[in-house]
């Protein structure tokens, strides 16, 4: 079992790192078209950061789905950060604090994903949703649920889990904790990593650029 989980983890990490590298190479090679560009004011950059943090453009586009989406993004980050203690021998204080917040963030994550799915499937009747989006949402929901069950009902040995994770990252594979749910949670996490939408890296740049463009547009035909 340990070997199988390790293979999945290494394969997912390889897909993730190589995929990101290849995309980066594609980005830097794409420069064939004359493109408008220019300076961006500090206020515009600050507004763009607010746009990203608050998902303002999504709020304008679809205020109905916004609460679910915003809570999902924040809680996902908190849950991810809350897992960092599994990867460090000396856990700093802030990681301990985040780990204490993680259970609440986990519940928020599940609730927000359930809200998004219900909103898309029932309220919008899937009219505008893509299968990819729904599959990804459902996979992360399942990941969250297995995590919640692991933390609350089918508790895994945290020390064994940490040792297993540390083993994976130091290429010294040891047995995972004796818990039937742990492998499922682990596999789902790496499936999400392998299929992680790269928009999480590129969308913030696009949002910052859209603010610059807005500023540019205002000055195009106006003094």
């Amino acid at each position: 079992m340990a070997i199988l989980l390790a293979i999945v983890a290494y394969a997912a990490l390889l897909v993730f790192y190589v995929g990101v590298t290849v995309r980066f190479l594609i980005y830097i090679r794409g420069d064939g078209s004359p493109a408008p560009g220019g300076k961006q004011s500090i206020s515009s950059i600050l507004l763009a950061i607010l746009d990203i943090f608050l998902l303002r453009r999504l709020f304008n586009a679809n205020p109905g789905i916004w609460p679910g989406s915003w809570v999902f993004h924040i809680s996902f980050i908190l849950v991810f950060l809350g897992h960092l203690r599994f990867f460090f021998y000396d856990v700093p204080r802030w990681m301990i604090v985040l780990a204490q917040i993680k259970p609440y963030a986990g519940v928020a994550l599940i609730a927000s994903l359930a809200y998004i799915l219900i909103y898309r499937l029932v309220w919008e009747r899937m009219k505008y949703s893509s299968i990819y989006n729904l599959m990804l949402t459902a996979t992360i929901l399942l990941l969250g649920l297995t995590g919640l069950f692991l933390a609350q009902y089918f508790r895994a040995d945290i020390t064994a889990a940490k040792n297993f994770m540390m083993g994976i990252f130091s290429f010294r594979i040891i047995a995972p904790p004796q818990n039937w749910l742990f492998p499922l949670h682990f596999l789902l996490a790496f499936v999400v990593l392998a299929f992680l939408p790269t928009h999480i890296f590129t969308a913030p740049f696009t949002t910052i650029e859209s603010r610059r463009r807005q500023e540019e547009t205002e000055g195009l035909l106006h003094d």
């Binding site: 586009a61 505008y128 790269t198």
Partner: protein, 400 residues
């Protein structure tokens, strides 16, 4: 340097990032005019980005690297080409996009890629470069007829002036009341203005740009900029939003430097002249009018309030708004050079706007774009809901 296999050669770095940034959320489908009338999700903005992303992945992505560059399915390429040219490039999808993808500029570049591959443009769009080369305009009409059928008697442009008026092909050949109104308003404001000769005033390049046919662009831009510079122009005025957009956004890129003059839309000139009192109205208009924001004027260059200021300055006029207005305005169906190829879509989209104007009981449907003017008039032909279409400068000139 354009690479043969690459699908990103025609794109800027930012545009490659934008293609990756699409979350496939589908918000754009709610605002896409082509979706509204066809219901065909394969021509949706999201689907176009998804398919183009696949093209990139299969040639330059991990799949391409590991398993060799795969030949992209020709049928899929052709379907994509149709979808990308069916778009009206109104940019409503980009306006609503939760991450802010600049689709109004992305679509022409994807079209350019398809042109490079010999798949686009479609139908009559292929004739545009030839027409522009031969006649200087996109309609294959003689240059001698550019101004003569509509230019008002008694209005005399001067040889050199700080202000120049560019008519544009669509206004000159397809929207006479509009450009006649422009000339009358310019003259009434009392400031001397200049114009290029009918042979000299060639296409601004927008139809070539929007159909991805870039070969003639640099030459056209340099020719026009140089001609206006020779006339000592400081402000170039035009009433066509597509031309204005081309001049303000793209001309500097093809020229390789900042323009030596400013670009202004005709409604900006009129609004300022009314506010400063140089333009005086002798009569008003008693009735309700509904104003349509052209995509390339509102979303394109941010001219939103000036047309409304002009309309509000007309005594007796009551201004109505479309439900979707300003930067959220609905396409009239004329954009993207799709109207000549996908005529039925364009008429159906135009009729959605007519429906709303009719339901709101507007006496006049006011436009400030020659392409909108031409297409909405076509959509009105034989339609049971009749609303009189009037250009904003035509209306204003009638009050002078």
């Amino acid at each position: 340097m354009i690479k043969k296999d690459s699908f990103t050669s025609c794109l800027s770095r930012q545009q490659v990032i934008e293609i990756d940034a699409c979350t496939q959320c589908g918000e754009c489908l709610k605002k896409c005019p082509v979706q509204d009338v066809t219901g065909d999700a394969s021509v949706s903005p999201r689907e176009k980005i998804r398919i183009f992303r696949e093209f990139i992945k299969s040639t330059q992505g991990l799949k391409g690297m590991l398993f060799g560059r795969r030949r992209v399915n020709q049928e899929l390429l052709e379907e994509f080409t149709k979808a990308i040219f069916e778009c009206t490039t109104c940019g409503a999808c980009g306006e609503v996009c939760p991450v802010g993808i600049y689709t109004q500029r992305l679509w022409p570049m994807l079209r350019r890629e398809m042109v490079r591959r010999g798949l686009g443009p479609i139908g009559p769009q292929k004739l545009i470069p030839g027409f522009v080369k031969e006649t200087g305009n996109v309609y294959d009409k003689p240059a001698s007829e550019r101004f003569s059928p509509w230019f008002p008697e008694g209005v005399e442009p001067v040889a050199k002036a700080k202000i120049a008026y560019y008519v544009g092909c669509t206004g000159a050949y397809e929207a006479h009341p509009m450009v006649r109104g422009d000339a009358l308003v310019l003259a009434a404001a009392g400031e001397p203005f200049t114009m290029l000769g009918a042979e000299e005033e060639v296409c601004c390049g927008f139809p070539l740009f929007i159909t991805g046919q870039f070969d003639l662009l640099e030459g056209l831009v340099k020719q026009l900029v140089s001609a206006y510079q020779d006339k000592g122009v400081e402000t170039l005025i035009c009433s066509c939003p597509c031309c204005v957009n081309m001049m303000a956004r793209e001309w500097p890129l093809f020229l390789g430097k900042e323009l030596p003059f400013r670009i202004r839309h005709m409604t900006q000139f009129a609004s300022r002249a009314l506010a400063e009192g140089t333009l005086k109205l002798k009569s008003g208009f008693n009735g309700k009018v509904i104003y349509h924001d052209p995509c390339y004027l509102s979303r394109g260059v941010g001219v939103i309030e000036e047309p409304r200021e002009v309309l509000r300055a007309i005594p007796g006029l009551k201004l109505l708004e479309f439900d979707r207005n300003r930067r959220d305005s609905r396409c009239c169906g004329a954009g993207g050079a799709a109207r000549k190829v996908f005529h039925e879509n364009a008429v159906a989209i135009g009729r959605l706007a007519i429906d709303e104007a009719w339901e709101k009981n507007a006496d006049r449907f006011i436009l400030s774009c020659p392409a909108c003017y031409s297409k909405v008039n076509e959509a009105m032909e034989g339609y049971e809901k009749q609303v009189r279409i009037t250009d904003i400068m035509e209306l204003l000139a009638g009050c002078l």
